[in-house]
Symmetry: C2
Subunit: 190 residues, 2 copies
DNA sequence: ACAATAAGTAATCGAGTGATAACCTGTCAA
DNA sequence: TTGACAGGTTATCACTCGATTACTTATTGT
């Protein structure tokens, strides 16, 4: 297999691994096992674990932003159209199907202890917010959209959809966070 | 010093340490150094690192919830009153002054990989949302309040307030996330 | 005086971690 | 053939981590 192919394959595996454990909670060996290669090879491809994580983070957030930009650029986005707003929200729901992207983003955003991760996180957040502003929405509406995304991320991280029925108030929050998307909670994955 | 006093002292130190690094990114030795005691003593007080983290998490989220409940119970909360809404928002702003509580909460919410942390996180989130529902607000309004809190958490984690001026769109997001509280960004702490 | 108990530390262990070095193996050009 | 290079692996190192054990010190009841 060519080095570039293998590289992409390892990046996909690393995305899955980091989505589960975050930066500190995931070893390079875990990534290697997920990719089916040896641990030193992972390190040699990317230099350091930090470099690998940053690449996974940028790639994941890039895809999320692309999903938004695609929806917004598809046809003229009407900031007053309820229908267009729903379309953008559904873009996020589709990303939930591959929740790894969202979880990697969230783990990046919470690993601000590492200065370089914090810097990339700021750039990623700036990019996403800029994309959302392209809707023409007022700042406060765009902010609420992003905030809702953050809530979805933490609710996924704590596995709320898989634990419905254990707490009345959390059920209420889950239902009005995920809406109809809750009915198909993507049972697989961790 | 009595064991109970020392225990509280270590819990405070652990809150600061975990707020910086999260569960996986913080060693028991880092907690011990922060508290000025030996590492084995930290372990012996709490049994395991996980037990310590769960106690720190529960305590931190408990204090956040208490802050909300105090505001809500202070006087009859009018769900239609803009003024009362501002009072509750300011309760969150005051918590930001001791941002450790918020950061611990966030790290707990993102460490869903560890089943016990995920379970405590769900209980914590359920408790906070239940407290916010006591305002009498519609579910959607309460949800947006919590979502806004999650956005504040990630913006703090990525040190957005300390890096104003580096990205136009992030500046906009920071200003409309923190509002006037941004002027005094609590320059100390990590 | 003297056990007994509480509060803590020093020493250490075994497992896991990121990274390095050395080695192996197939393919292809000369 | 041979040699060079790309694509990997095995072995290993230095270090960190959470946890255990054994020791020390000081107070207190008798």
């Amino acid at each position: 297999m060519s080095a570039d192919e293998r590289r992409e394959l390892v990046l996909d595996a690393a995305t899955r691994a980091f989505a589960r454990g975050g930066y500190h909670g995931t070893s390079t060996d875990a990534v290697a096992k997920e990719a089916g290669v040896s641990q030193p090879y992972v390190v040699r491809i990317f230099g350091t674990k930090l470099d690998l994580f940053l690449e996974v983070l940028d790639r994941s957030v890039g895809r999320i932003r692309d999903a938004f930009e695609t929806v917004i650029a598809e046809r003229p986005f009407d900031p007053d159209s309820e229908e267009d707003a729903i379309r953008l929200g559904e873009a996020y729901n589709e990303l939930m199907a591959d929740r790894d992207l969202l979880q990697v983003m969230m783990h990046g955003f919470s690993a601000g202890q590492v200065p370089e991760i914090a810097a990339h996180s700021r750039a990623c957040m700036a990019g996403i917010f800029a994309a959302v502003l392209e809707t023409g929405w007022p700042e406060e509406v765009a902010r609420d959209f992003v905030a809702h995304g953050m809530l979805i991320n933490v609710m996924l991280s704590m596995h709320a959809p898989e634990h419905l029925g254990e707490s009345a108030s959390l059920d209420v929050l889950a239902r009005c966070t995920f809406g109809e998307a809750l009915e198909v909670p993507a049972p697989g994955a961790s």
